[in-house]
Amino acid sequence: MRTGARAFHRLNQQNSISPRLTIAAGLVALFVAIPLGYIFFRAVTGEPEVWQRLLQTRIWTLLGNTLLLVAAVTSGALVTGVSMAWITERTDLPGRGIFRWMLALPLAIPAYIGGILHLTLLRSRGGLIPQLLESLFGQPIPTPSPLGFWGAAFILTIFTYPYVYLLSAAAFRSLHASLEEAARTFGRTPWQTLWRVTLPALRPGLIAGALLVALDILAEYGTVALLRYETFSSAIFVQLSGRYDRSAASVLSGVLVTLAIVILWGELRLQGQARFTQMESNWRPAPRHGLGKWKLPAFLLILGVISASLLVPVSVLAAWSIGAFLDPKTLASVFRTGSQGFGSFAWNSLWSSGLAAILAVTLSLPVALLSVRYPNRFSRFISRFCQVGYAIPGVVIALSLVLLVNRLLPFLYATPLVVVIAYVLRHMPQAVRASESALGQLSPSLEEAARTLGRTSLQTLFQITLPLVLPGLLAGGALVFLTSLKELPATLLLRPAGFDTLAVRVWVWAEDGFYMQAAPAALLLVLVSAIPLSFLLRREQVFK
């Protein structure tokens, strides 16, 4: 057990700011600012008739659809995530250790792949389950359709609840036993204690989880497109790829980004001061509740969640992959050589995501160093600013880069580098947060000691700071790598012809109905994602 992570933010004091560092961080912020600023510029300067047409026809429907989905999935993920966390962290259910992993691992499955699987299983015409039921009973049995709002809400909930699960499990863990004991000594029943003390104490974790889910849903393209539920992201995608109406896309993007920024701002307001639950050295875990006769229902509940989100998708993928390998024709088309081969999809995925991870972590360093070592209004602004990428959906980044690169850097257009830039912009916040938290745990006196022992600031950075924060930086890199691997809409819009990643290939094949052919690629994508994910999970308190 770690004894209380110490944060070394210096308060009320401020070193003389290093100009080199300020310039470097400023340049990074500028790099992040340009695409965002450009979208707003295009949206505001969009032709009035485009605005008018969209206001009259599309915007209100899209706004309603998007907000409804965000609300439904966020509350679904909160309920699922918190109840799963309560069962694995606070009850005596057997097999908790394995369930923890299985509840977190769906993060390695992109929601659209889950969507494809559930669609092939459940769709009313030709779905595997309706077919099975029909052959069993001799007549069609009505099954719930995965299409539309409810389908999208269901699929997105079961693939985003792990965010809430991880954060609330960590919060349940860090709760001090005496907190609940104190409530009990004041005459509260366990049930009252849960509602009045435990859940409010979890609030920071819950809000952070809800924010991640909400922003994820705003940015989601693949699942909603697949399940034919129109949101801002999918509408922008259609405008961009099908109709080539960039003015309309800009206007819609402006509205979408505003929506995301409102959510981000709301999180900051709600979080207030209660951001961290401090684990002190005299921490001891709260006692577990005995489930008694509720053991079986709890077990079935967890089983249901992990079946839908992990077991069924992975086994179906595995079964289809085996099927694909057994069928020579499919096998041949999976392993076609040259730029169309399976190896090249995997390689493209790996190098573009890997490069994005390295770039994002490198760029995040000056920002994190400035905001952690020289905390003031300016450095806080830079750091916050570099985190707006959270709020910019992939389709919007794609649109912005299409417009900007065409105009300013035509030589970059239709190269894989644009895809990498999109990944970096979109996932910069994860790198910045990871670097900040790593640097925040490093005592500044270590750097100062190196200075008094004759090292320049640059030597200190390379000999002391970087070696010591390396694990934290690697975690940030792993997170960027993982999310870039799964990224779909920006890759689809920006990739040059012939640049296929695993995600793109799975999507294209599945759209054309070649599920068998898509399965090996999808399975590989899930397995490759599981590697950085398990590295990240191992760093978490809950999995130690």
């Binding site: 009320n12 004091q13 401020q14 070193n15 003389s16 003031n376 005592s443 006196s445 270590l446 100062e448 000691a449 190196a450 200075r451 008094t452 022992l453 004759g454 090292r455 320049t456 600031s457 002391i464 070696p467 010591l468």
Partner: protein
């Protein structure tokens, strides 16, 4: 020979109205230990960091061996000042062994020299046998000594120590500080030492500088600071004195517990305060009396009584442990000191020259 000279040093931090260090000047002779002492936030640590070059002064001049290292136009970065610093949290590099930590500051030396110097320093602090360990495998006192060896190894002109013992347990602290003072003196090191503990300052410092609100209140030898405090704050912070109000009169200073026959260069009927330590006050049990015992504290060889005078003022008095008087008893308190006492008018000492 003057090693360190600080003139009119001033530092503001943005966002706070008061200067963290306000017009501080002092000089330090070769192989002298100066203890900067004061309550937290008094500017002592900032002064140390300014000398180290970890902060940039807004005003004033710092000279090391007659070389200007910080002034309005000059700023020598810390790595070029040739100082050694011991940090509050020791700041040992966790990814380096004890040996590598101590050798970190030794550069431009042959491997052989480097090995010799490091071993010599580790032997000096008595840790040669732990050279291959990593810092996390050391006890608090051992870490403290590694930090000292690391700071001493490059033979710096000046050692800076920022509350080096505050992370140690009370027992260990006394043992370690005796060792550390011995090592520093044996090397004839010139040291600026920061602490918030007045007892530690009195023990470690050849001289003390008492800080409050960014200003240096008094600098001098421990005895001077203790017995001849120039301000009320110093008397309170270093001496733990009570302050008895009184008023100048023809026969001395009139107070609630009698007249102190000590002439002052002040106009008649000026309100003043007399600093009284527990051994300056005594009492007799007397039902008429001028106060009562509020509480008794057992201190081993003697008892300390907290007295509440009828005027409401609180004084402390000590008596030997053979005599026990219960709280609540009426007593007559009086000044028992046979030496003259420090008297303050508007916070400043008056008529110190009589002692």
């Amino acid at each position: 020979m003057t090693t360190l000279e600080v003139q009119n040093l001033t530092k503001h931090f943005t966002g706070s109205g008061e200067a963290a260090v306000n017009n501080v000047s002092f000089a330090l002779q070769n192989s002298e230990i100066l203890a900067l002492v004061g309550p937290s936030g008094c500017g002592k640590t900032t002064t140390l960091r300014l000398i180290a070059g970890l902060e940039r002064p807004d005003d004033g001049v710092i000279r090391l061996n007659d070389r200007v290292v910080a002034s309005k136009n000059t700023f020598i970065p810390p790595e070029k000042r040739g100082l050694g610093m011991v940090f509050q949290d020791h700041a040992l590099f966790p990814h380096l062994t004890v040996f590598e930590n101590v050798a970190f500051g030794l550069r431009r030396q042959t491997q052989k020299q480097l090995h010799e110097t490091t071993t010599e320093m580790l032997t000096l602090v008595g840790l040669a046998h732990l050279a291959k360990r990593y810092p996390h495998a050391l006890s608090g006192g051992e870490r403290q000594r590694v930090a000292l060896a690391r700071a001493l190894a490059p033979r710096p002109v000046l050692i800076l120590m920022d509350e080096p013992f505050s992370s140690l347990d009370a027992d260990l602290r006394h043992a370690v500080r005796e060792q550390v003072r011995g090592i520093l003196k044996s090397m004839c090191a010139t040291v600026v030492f920061v602490t918030h503990d007045q007892e530690e300052a009195l023990y470690m410092g050849d001289r003390l500088a008492v800080f409050q609100h960014g200003q240096m209140e008094q600098i001098g030898k421990p005895e001077q600071i203790f017995h001849a405090s120039t301000t009320r704050f110093v008397a309170e912070f270093i001496g733990g004195s009570d302050f008895l109000t009184g008023e100048t009169a023809p026969d001395g200073i009139r107070t609630a517990i009698g007249v102190l026959p000590q002439p002052l260069d002040l106009p008649m009927w000026t309100p003043v305060e007399i600093a009284l330590r527990a051994d300056d006050v005594d009492f007799t049990v007397d039902s008429a009396g001028n106060g009562m015992i509020a509480e008794r504290f057992f201190r081993g060889a003697f008892n300390v009584y907290r007295l509440r005078l009828d005027t409401g003022q609180i004084l402390h008095a000590c008596k030997s442990h053979t005599e026990l008087i219960s709280p609540g008893a009426r007593v007559r308190a009086y000044i028992s000191a046979e030496h003259s006492l420090a008297v303050f008018w508007k916070g400043q000492a008056v008529s110190n020259e009589s002692r």
